[in-house]
Every structure is written in structure tokens, then in C-alpha cells.
Amino acid sequence: MQVFKLCLKVLKKNKATMLIYIVVFLVVSLIMSSAMTKDEQADNLFIQKKSNIAFISQENSPLIDGLKNELEKVANFVELPDEKEALQDALYFRSVSYILRIPKGFTESFMKGENVQLEKTTVPDSLSNTYIDLCIDNYLNNARLYVQHVGDISQESLVLHLKSDLSVNTSVELKTKSDKAQNHIYANYFFNYMAYSLLSVLILGMTALMLVFYDNNLRRRNACSPVSARSMNLQFILASLLFTVFTWMIMVIFCLLYNLDNSFNLNTVYFLINSLVFAVCGASISFLIGNLVKSANAISAISNVVTLGLCFISGVFVPVEFLGDSVLRIASFTPTYWFVNANNRIAELTEFNFSNIEPILSCMLIQLGFALAFFVVALVISKRRRFE
């Protein structure tokens, strides 16, 4: 077991380095998961998230007041001066995501039945802005109906009508299986994010170990010893797996601690299994990289491409819904995609019957398949390198 002990010693010697990596990536994971979770509707009540908007009107009228009141259902108003720079800054820093301007003469033209428009300046890609658009359009379209078909209707009366019309609300029944509805949003994000954090730590850590162990001179000396190559490799693999599991455990423990309330269920078990499978896959990837590349700079660069790049196309940072089909098809040739796929499914799991579990299991099997493939390729490369 000498080789095994040696590997452990090398790892221990580098513990400061490993610690820096683990801490950095862990902290980033925790912050990110919290931030993303808060963003989503984490409550079980059907509450739409309110955006911050600036309501700048160049005139006053009951119609406009009515619109403003209606908008309060979906927005928070932020007072901003009507100056270009202040408005630009506000959008830039996202203190508002929507600026609504009502031009002078709007009310009069509208009440005459003319087709006038309001101006908006927005931060694109903000979903809550859609609600605002919808709200405004609803209000004004319904108002238009009145204006067109009930001639001479006064603004006050119009506003009153609209108020009651628009107070009609769909009733929503939220069905959940368990009494204590648990949400797995945080865990979903955290475990998805592990595709970045855990993989980075594994690559950086294992390649550091490999650079020492696979250094040419040491390798030649080891090759002459009476310990068989097979035994040496096995011991090395054992040490690497130990490191992998250890890192995995640390990350997972923190996730569980942070999210304790939501953790005592079967979903968590599946999350854990899935992430362990991915960790093994990650170890295999690291092994491959360590065999391919020898310079430390190159390793940092590759690790970045592999972790960040794959995460981007697999739905870790940009949600899967937004990724095009061709992108997803390419991503499906990487283990990260299947890992994320499984995680997303696990987060939704409420019934643990076989038809629900089966796709998750196949994702895990695919990951293991990748692990094996990478490992074999790495072995082939390493054998060829041996005789350099």
C-alpha cells in the first residue's frame, strides 16, 4: 500500500491548495444557489413577483390614475427624476427594470378613440416586465371597449368599471402530494451548480496529484520496483477516489446544512446518488486531462473550458428551457447534460414509481458510461506515454 500512502501524503502536502479551491467554489455555489432560489417563486402561494418600475407621466387624469392603481398589483413604483442620465443609470444598475412614460395629450386622444401609445424603456429578458405589459394592455384594451361602445362615458365612470372588471381573478388550486410541501429548488440549483464547482475542484486537485505521481523520472523509478504496474495503478485510483468522495462529501454536507428543512426526503437521496455518480465521472475526466496535459497553465485553461463551457450548454447557468434544440443535442454528448437532466427531474419528483424513476436511472447510467469511456481513453494514452 506504499503507493496509496504516497498519494495521500502528496494530497496532504497540497492541502492548502485544495482547501482554497474547495472553499472558493463552495462559497460561490452557496451564494449562487441562494440568489437563484430567491429569484424564483419559492413560496407555495401563487404570487407574482413585482418588478420595480418608474412611472413618469406628463399629465394627470383619472384614467392615468386608474392605470397606476392597476399597475400596483404587479409593480413597485420607484421615484426617479425625468432626466436622461438618471434614467440610464437606473436601468443600468437595475434599480428599475421598466420605465413607463405617458406623453402629454394621451388621455384626451385616448378618450376620443384614437390609437395612441405609451412609451416604455426596459431591461430586456425580464419576465416580470411581461406582466407589466400585459397589465397595461389589458387595462387599456378593456377601456377601449368602453370608449368605443359606450359613447360619452366619463373617465371616472370608466375607471370604476375597469376596477371591478379587472378584479376578477382566476382561482388557483395548488395540489401537492405531501402535507408539508417541500421544495427542492435550492437543492436543484446547488446540485446543478456542482457540475461546475465539484468538477473544477476535482480537475484542479487530481491533476496536481497526477503531475507529481506521473512525473517521468518518478514513473521510471516506480516501474523498476517490484510492485506491479497494475497494483500501483489500482492504489493510485483508490487514492483518487478517496479524494473524490471526500470533496463530494464536503460539498454535499454544506448543501444539506444550508437547506436542512427541505432535506429529509427521498428526493435528497436521489440527489446524493446522482451527484456521487457525477463525482466519479468527474474523477474520470480529471484523470483524462491529467494524462493529456502537463503544463499547469494549460490545465487551468482546460479546466475552465470544460467546466464553464459544458455548464453553459447543459443548462446550469442558462436554464434548459432557453437552450435551442441543436445546442441540447450537442450537450447530450457530455455527461454534464445528463447530470443536470437527472437533477431537474429529481427536483420535480413527487411520486416515486418506476416510470418516474426510470429516466433518472438511465441518466445516471449514461454518466457512468461516460466515466468508463474517459477512463479507458486515459489509460490508453497513459500507456503510450509510458514509453516516451
Binding site: 479551491y21 436622461k84 444598475f93 420605465i99 430586456p124 400585459l134 388557483v172 502537463k294 494549460a298 453553459f312
Partner: protein, 378 residues
């Protein structure tokens, strides 16, 4: 002497093919991945029809208007829904298996049954809300003007859009750009590895090569600066390749102020390389630890600048604004974005100003440490 040291250093750097290849390729590869992932973020046509069901009971069948509205929304190519008309039990089953986002029960008011509150559910609810609110308006109008029915129908079909987008600046606010700008900023910070080597190679207590240089009649600081220039030029070259790739191959928009974009890249490169030299000079431990620190800081900086999760940038800006000025990656990202988005230079100047402060701190710090010519131990 400058040419001699500069050219030899450049030779050394260029011959480390592995490093050059990967440090040049990695931002390009990442850019390609980003591009793939972000293609559709700004694209509205990405919308996929939502799967829903409606319970086929007598109330549903008798509410002709609603039935018609649903059917209308569920047919054609740009349709909102994929509608299944079925029994309540079947609908429940479909919901359990997550095959539908929710199902509708026609009651007073119309009810929506879901098992989670996500985007799709919100869209369905909005649709129903819209319908019911309009129905309420129609009813009040008809109450006052019973004959208006015909005209109402045609009015209903002429739904208007009352809001038009007006941009505040010459450029459209664009979320996708931020990702690419953070990528450039990160690539600049990765110059730290070059800087790290420069600092190591001039300190005689770390490198025997440095001892030779220390003994030669060349002024140590001059030797360092000339050598540093070689690393800087090489890194700058890599950044330019990245910029050109982004601009001409991926079509990323930098705005019209090209000269300033180049200036920003140069400053970014200097920041990165000097950062590496600084950390390498200060941290007297092994090379692995230095690399870990450099990587850790770069990645954290990139994260806080919004590379992985865009909103992070704004969360930081709103909660801990000091941090957004202390993060060189963020400063660089913002500098690029200011050039694109704003007409004036005030925000750009602010970012660049802070960046220059960083450059001065890193350079001066490195200078203070490496200028030592006699060591306590070798």
C-alpha cells in the same frame, strides 16, 4: 539591452506550445459555448406551446365563449397551448405525471389546478384572467348598450398594443453582452499566469536563473520590465484575437467607440499580468498555492461580475456596492458595457479610473518586493 531581453523572453514564451495553445484557445472555446447557450435568450420566437387540459363537463360545454377562446389559443402554428379535453380523473393523472402544466375547471370563477407555481402556470393563469376580465367588461357594456354585441365582437378581435419600446440610449440594453464582456474580463485576468512567471524568474531566492541575471551588469528592474513587456505583448495579442473572434465571428457588438475598446483591453491585460506578478511576489509559498490564489480570485471575481448568474452583478451592486468597485473583473466588464451603452464617458472614466488604481497598486507592490537585490537566504 531591451531588444535582447525582450526577444529572448518572447522566444521562451512562444516555445511553450502547450501553454500558448490552451491560453489562447480557452476564451475562444468558451465564447463558442456561450454563444450556443445564449442564442435564444433574446429570441422571442423560442416560445413553446404549453400543455394544458380542460375538464370536459357540462359547465365547460355550456360556456361557448370560453371554449371558443381556448380553441383559438390552441390552434395554429404560433399557438399558446396544446389543449387536451378530458375527464377530471384523467386530468389529475396527467398532472401527477407532469405531462401538463395544469388543468382548467370551468366554474364561477374559472379554476386552474396546478402542482407548482412556475412560469407556464403563470402564463395560463394570465390567459384566463385576461379572458374573464374582458368578459366582465363586455357584460357591463352590454348591460348599458345591449345592441352593441356585433360591434363588440369585431372590437374584441382588434386587440391593440398600447406600449412601444423606446430606447433610452443609442444602444439597446442587452443582457447577452454582459456574458461576453465578463468573458473578456476573465481572459484579461488570466494574464496573471504570465505575470506570476515573470515575478518568479527575477527573484534569486526562487529561481537559479534569476541569480544569474542578478549577477550580471544589467539593472534588475530594467531586466524585469523588459521581460514583463514580452509577456504583456503576448497576452495582449491573445486578447486581441479574442476580441476579433467575438466581433467578427460571433457578431458581438462593442458599440462604435472602437479605440476605447482597444484601450480598455490593453488596460485589462496590464491589470491581469501585474496582478499575477503581485501575488507571486507577495506569496512566498509554493507555486501550487499561488496558482490556487490566482484562480480563486479570478473565478470569484468573474462570478461576482455576473458571468454565471447575471443577476449576481446587480445583487452586489445593490447590496454591497463597494465590492463592485473592488472587483477588477467587474470594473473591466462595466467599462466595456459603458462604452456600448452610454453616450457619455463619465461611467467609463469611473471604471477605468479604478482599474488604473489597481494597476498602480499591483505594479508598485511588485516593485517594492522584487527590487531587493541582496537576500537573507538563497
Amino acid at each position: 539591452m531591451f531588444a535582447h531581453i525582450f526577444i529572448n523572453r518572447l522566444k521562451c514564451l512562444l516555445r511553450d506550445r502547450e501553454t500558448i495553445f490552451w491560453t489562447m484557445m480557452f476564451p475562444l472555446l468558451l465564447a463558442v459555448f456561450f454563444n450556443m447557450a445564449l442564442l435564444n435568450v433574446n429570441n422571442d420566437e423560442m416560445f413553446k406551446a404549453i400543455d394544458i387540459a380542460v375538464v370536459d363537463d357540462s359547465s365547460y360545454q355550456s360556456d361557448r365563449h370560453f371554449k371558443a377562446a381556448l380553441d383559438e389559443a390552441s390552434k395554429g402554428d404560433g399557438r399558446l397551448f396544446n389543449l387536451t379535453v378530458t375527464s377530471k380523473d384523467n386530468a389529475d393523472e396527467l398532472l401527477n405525471e407532469n405531462k401538463i402544466a395544469g388543468y382548467i375547471v370551468v366554474e364561477e370563477p374559472i379554476k386552474l389546478v396546478v402542482n407548482k407555481s412556475g412560469i407556464n402556470q403563470a402564463i395560463v393563469k394570465s390567459f384566463i384572467d385576461s379572458y374573464m376580465q374582458t368578459a366582465s367588461s363586455v357584460n357591463s357594456i352590454l348591460f348599458e348598450k345591449p345592441n352593441a354585441q356585433q360591434e363588440l365582437v369585431s372590437s374584441l378581435n382588434e386587440r391593440q398594443q398600447y406600449v412601444k419600446e423606446v430606447s433610452a440610449t443609442n444602444a439597446e440594453p442587452n443582457n447577452v453582452l454582459n456574458y461576453f464582456y465578463t468573458l473578456i474580463a476573465m481572459a484579461c485576468m488570466y494574464g496573471c499566469f504570465f505575470g506570476m512567471r515573470e515575478a518568479s524568474d527575477i527573484q534569486a531566492d526562487i529561481s537559479p536563473l534569476a541569480a544569474r541575471v542578478n549577477i550580471s551588469p544589467v539593472h534588475k528592474l530594467k531586466a524585469f520590465i523588459y521581460s514583463f513587456c514580452a509577456s504583456l505583448i503576448l497576452h495582449l495579442f491573445e486578447i486581441f484575437i479574442l476580441l476579433m473572434f467575438l466581433r467578427f465571428v460571433l457578431g458581438v457588438d462593442f458599440g462604435p467607440k472602437t479605440g476605447y475598446v482597444i484601450l480598455t483591453s490593453v488596460l485589462g491585460s496590464i491589470t491581469g499580468v501585474s496582478f499575477g506578478a503581485f501575488v507571486s511576489a507577495i506569496v512566498k509559498k509554493s507555486e501550487n498555492i499561488k496558482i490556487a490564489i490566482l484562480l480563486g480570485v479570478s473565478m470569484t471575481g468573474s462570478f461576482l461580475a455576473g458571468m454565471m448568474y447575471q443577476n449576481m452583478k446587480y445583487i452586489v451592486a445593490q447590496n454591497v456596492p463597494v465590492l463592485s468597485y473592488l472587483n477588477p473583473v467587474n470594473l473591466l466588464t462595466d467599462a466595456f458595457y459603458s462604452l456600448y451603452y452610454y453616450d457619455t464617458f463619465s461611467r467609463y472614466a469611473l471604471n477605468i479610473g479604478f482599474l488604473c488604481i489597481f494597476i498602480v497598486v499591483f505594479s508598485f507592490g511588485t516593485y517594492l518586493i522584487i527590487r531587493r537585490r541582496k537576500y537573507a537566504s538563497l
